[in-house]
């Protein structure tokens, strides 16, 4: 009675390593990127400008500049990628089985909707 756990063929396992590695490095790279983008964003909307000043006019002016459109778009993409990758581990740590799948699907859908919606505003806002 030897225990030889059934494992998929080595080829597909190699790609599993590549996928995990990509997720791992993306989480960290988006993190480092966000350190600049998010803190910059926060500084510009809370410190340099007071929050009460960040009204519709402020957004109008801001999104008139291509720099800020790119900044905010990249930040949005990065933050959602980062959060989804991060939550991947969080979900795994506190759930198991089908529950895990359901929570993951939810996170994924919510993030997808936010991303679409968010990008739409930025583009609409910038062009309108």
């Amino acid at each position: 009675m030897t225990t030889t756990p059934a494992r998929p063929a080595p080829a597909s396992r190699g790609s599993a390593v590549r996928r995990r590695r990509a997720a791992y490095i993306s989480l960290r790279m988006t993190g480092v990127l966000l350190a600049v983008l998010v803190l910059g964003h926060f500084a510009s909307t809370h410190v340099i400008t007071d929050v009460s000043g960040t009204d519709a006019n402020f957004i109008d002016e801001r999104w008139a500049s291509l720099l800020w459109v790119i900044w905010d778009s990249v930040m949005l993409v990065a933050v959602l990628a980062h959060a989804v990758l991060g939550l991947w581990a969080v979900v795994a740590d506190y759930s198991a089985g089908t529950r895990r799948l359901v929570i993951r699907a939810t996170v994924f859908v919510v993030a997808g909707l936010l991303l679409l919606g968010g990008l739409a505003i930025i583009i609409v806002g910038a062009s309108g």
């Binding site: 960290r28 993190g31 480092v32 966000l34 350190a35 998010v38 803190l39 926060f42 500084a43 809370h46 410190v47 007071d50 929050v51 009460s52 960040t54 009204d55 519709a56 957004i59 109008d60 949005l76 933050v79 959060a83 991060g86 939550l87 969080v90 506190y94 919510v110 936010l114 919606g117 968010g118 739409a120 505003i121 609409v124 806002g125 309108g128």
Partner: protein
């Protein structure tokens, strides 16, 4: 309070509740699975002792990193929605957005700032642990820097955010 403001408030409450619930899950499961997260007397004594026992600090850094990450994500969800009002109607946006200037919201923003600062600096620390191959001792030292930076930047930021309340 206008209807959009009320809806924002509702959304905010939901996010806050989710974050609180998540905090409870993290700390409770810590109690069951790694031997207890609640600040007991024995644990506080450990924090004060030098050497390996300082790992208690690492443990808390992990809990807080987790909770702050999820919290910031929760707020982000809300924030994307409220900014999207701008595309829909700048007037409604302004109406909802005026809430951000209230004293209560400013206090909450300070909380957000601290969460963001800690998560950012600690996240950079975790990246550097991998990149620079820091061990438990070095990474604990960097953790002190993380805590100090969070405090310094947080206080400076809090000053600017809260200034209008007192003026």
């Amino acid at each position: 309070m206008t209807l959009p403001q009320f809806l924002f408030f509702l959304g905010f409450t939901i996010v806050a509740l989710v974050v609180i619930a998540f905090t409870v899950v993290v700390l409770r499961s810590a109690r069951f699975y790694d031997g207890g997260a609640f600040p007991t007397g024995a644990m506080i004594m450990r924090l004060a002792r030098p050497g390996r026992e300082r790992v208690e600090l690492q443990r808390w850094a992990f809990y807080v990193h987790r909770i702050s990450g999820a919290g910031v994500f929760g707020f982000l969800c809300l924030h994307v929605v409220d900014v999207s009002l701008f595309a829909f109607s700048p007037a409604v946006y302004d109406n909802v957005h005026s809430l951000y200037g209230t004293a209560v919201m400013r206090v909450i923003e300070v909380g957000l700032l601290f969460a963001l600062l800690f998560h950012t600096f600690n996240g950079l620390r975790l990246v550097s642990v991998d990149v620079k191959d820091l061990g438990i001792v070095a990474s604990t030292r960097v953790l002190y820097v993380v805590l100090a930076s969070t405090l310094v930047f947080g206080i400076v930021g809090a000053y600017y955010i809260l200034k209008p309340v007192f003026l």
